[in-house]
């Protein structure tokens, strides 16, 4: 049996349904990400798991125990909040020790475990600082240490990195993954950032309108989107109607699929065996770091992405013929 089981979870606020028929199975030690746009219900799942919000219907089982009706303090579920939620009247050390003090662990053990945890999150030298004296990244690491020290069965992370700047966010993503693997703890991360989800997760559940739109490994989600929503949300896919794509490539496509998707980076300029060709007029080129994104207009507008170091510059206003491997044309349900 899975470590965490969520079955038929529903949540309604008045007449508004925010979660509908959510089923999830999570193994021990997995790093799971709930990914989706704002308001899709992903944070509500975390709050229900933590016991901070009641479900309207459904089951939550953690390590074989039904959690419905169990108080948050008795669930052994840790949580890291977006706004850190550090106790402002306590030092870093006192914040981290709080959970152990509530468990009435003896002082010597508390001191030892706090020191160990501060080493793990690289904050030993800030033990006596107050939260307001720390940077955002440091505060988030204190929040992580505070949640981890009580050895929760599962750690819930509610957009913990979204308030931080890009560089610190990337560093903390790596730290988070390393700590998760080192401690072997089950983590569930909520984020709307698909790159973050791809970087840290074992599996991703993509959510839309209170439902799970698709789940799988980051690679599977990215390379095999099942719907137009996933294709657009996860990877800036080019999405074409069947008729438009048939016209463009001059071939007949299976009628059971109404839409097709092509990854922008799967489009190239050299003809290879089995490629289909698409064409358009180069309209705009935008550089974002190491990637150049070029927009083409024609019968079916599309976007192509190339690595900057190998990227060819396109003459804007000129027509180009581009190629895509047949297996990179993905049928959407």
């Amino acid at each position: 049996m899975s470590y965490i089981v969520i079955e038929g979870l529903h949540k309604k606020y008045g007449s508004t349904t925010v979660l509908s028929n959510i089923d999830m199975k999570i193994d021990k030690g997995e790093f799971i990400t709930l990914l989706g746009p704002s308001g899709c219900g992903k944070s509500t799942i975390l709050r229900i798991l933590a016991g901070l919000t009641d479900a309207s219907a459904g089951k939550i089982i953690i390590e074989g125990k039904d959690m419905i009706g169990v108080q948050p303090k008795d669930r052994q579920v840790g949580m890291v909040f977006q706004s850190y939620a550090l106790f402002p009247n306590m030092t870093v050390k006192e914040n981290v020790a709080f959970g152990l003090r509530m468990q009435k662990v003896n002082t010597a053990e508390v001191d030892q475990r706090v020191q160990e945890m501060l080493v793990i999150v690289h904050l030993s030298e800030k033990a006596n600082a107050y939260p307001k004296e720390l940077s955002g990244g440091q505060q988030q690491r204190v929040a992580l240490a505070r949640a981890l020290i009580v050895r929760p069965k599962v750690l819930l992370l509610d957009e913990p990195l979204s308030a931080l700047d890009a560089q610190i966010r990337q560093k903390l993503q790596a730290d988070l993954r390393a700590i998760q693997q080192k401690l072997g703890i089950t983590m569930i991360l909520v984020t709307h950032d698909q790159e973050e989800a791809m970087a840290v997760s074992d599996r991703i559940f993509v959510m839309n309108n209170g439902m799970i739109a698709q789940s799988g490994t980051p690679t599977a989600i990215y390379t095999c989107p099942e719907s137009e929503f996933i294709a657009n949300f996860i990877g800036h896919y080019n999405v074409f109607t069947r008729q438009a794509l048939e016209t463009m490539i001059g071939e007949t496509l299976p009628k059971e699929y109404s839409k097709y998707a092509i990854r922008p980076e799967a489009i190239h300029l050299e003809l290879r065996q089995g490629d289909v060709c698409i064409s358009g007029e180069a309209k705009q080129s935008l550089m974002s770091g190491n990637v150049i994104r070029t927009t083409f207009e024609g019968e079916c507008p599309f976007t192509m992405e190339q690595l900057h170091q190998r990227g060819q510059s396109f003459e804007l206003g000129k027509n180009y013929v581009c190629y895509v491997a047949r297996e990179d044309v993905i049928a959407l349900s």
Binding site: L52, K73, V77, M79, S83, A85, N89, F98, M102
Partner: protein, 261 residues
């Protein structure tokens, strides 16, 4: 430069207007005689000593402290948890508290006193308890504002959630996290309330009068007996208020990361 000169002059005039009566009263409390000279003819502790030897004054002082602090304690015990519950769990009802806060200011003391006498005198309720109750309501604005402002600086609901997920009960989360976090603001509100009640005269004088003589009633009585003694009472009152103001000012400088008023 000319503008600055005018500003300084007006500031000095204002300060003179505000401070001179206080300084003069304080000097009068220590003056041996001060009738026909610009400055007192001599200084003495006689009036203060007389005051502290007067059992009536000591009792009046004790009653004022008891009544004011009693009302503040009751207000803290009743109003603060209510504000927490409303702000955290029923924010839509907060407008009613805000309305009550405004209403406190809209009742002049004399009308309130007459109203209290008319309503409660026929029930046999001790009128001092009625005044205590009115005081508790009267300081609602200070307690509410102190608590609310402190809560506004923190995400109280999330702190409560975080504490509970770490194994704390709701009561533990309240006493160990929320209360210490809002404590400076709360304490400042309590001190402010105490100082306001300590100086209250209209309500206690009309509703209870000499049956429960407070410092303010004692002062009123002494005004017709000896100006020096009355000034000594005012001096003690000013020192007490000064100490309370200093305590409030110290507390409102943020301490230990906690929020303030």
């Amino acid at each position: 430069m000319k503008k600055r000169g005018f500003a300084d002059l007006f500031f000095l005039l204002l300060m003179a207007y505000l401070v001179l009566p206080v300084v003069a009263t304080m000097f009068y409390a220590f003056a041996t005689k001060w009738n026909k000279t610009i400055l007192p003819e001599g200084l003495t502790f006689k009036w203060l000593a007389t005051l502290f030897q007067d059992a009536e004054f000591i009792q009046a002082f004790g009653r004022s402290v008891l009544l004011s602090s009693g009302a503040v304690v009751v207000a803290l015990l009743v109003i603060v948890p209510a504000i927490f519950v409303i702000v955290l769990y029923f924010p839509k009802y907060e407008k009613w508290i805000q309305m009550a806060v405004v209403m406190v200011y809209s009742f002049p003391g004399i009308i309130l006193a007459v109203g209290l006498i008319r309503v409660y005198s026929k029930f046999g309720v001790p009128m001092i308890l009625v005044v205590l109750g009115a005081y508790v309501i009267g300081i609602l604005p200070y307690i509410y504002q102190g608590t609310r402002n402190s809560l506004r600086n923190i995400d109280a609901r999330q702190l409560l959630d975080a504490a509970q997920l770490l194994g704390a009960s709701k009561l533990q989360a309240f006493t160990k996290i929320l209360l210490p976090t809002v404590y400076p603001g709360l304490f400042a509100g309590a001190l402010l309330s105490f100082s306001v009640l300590f100086g209250e005269f209209v309500l206690i004088n009309i509703v209870v009068g000499s049956r429960f003589e407070t410092v303010q009633i004692y002062l009123m009585k002494k005004l017709s007996v000896s100006g020096h003694i009355a000034s000594a009472v005012v001096f003690i009152y000013i020192v007490l208020m000064g100490l309370l103001t200093f305590a409030i000012a110290t507390l409102t400088k943020r301490s230990k990361g906690a929020t303030n008023l």
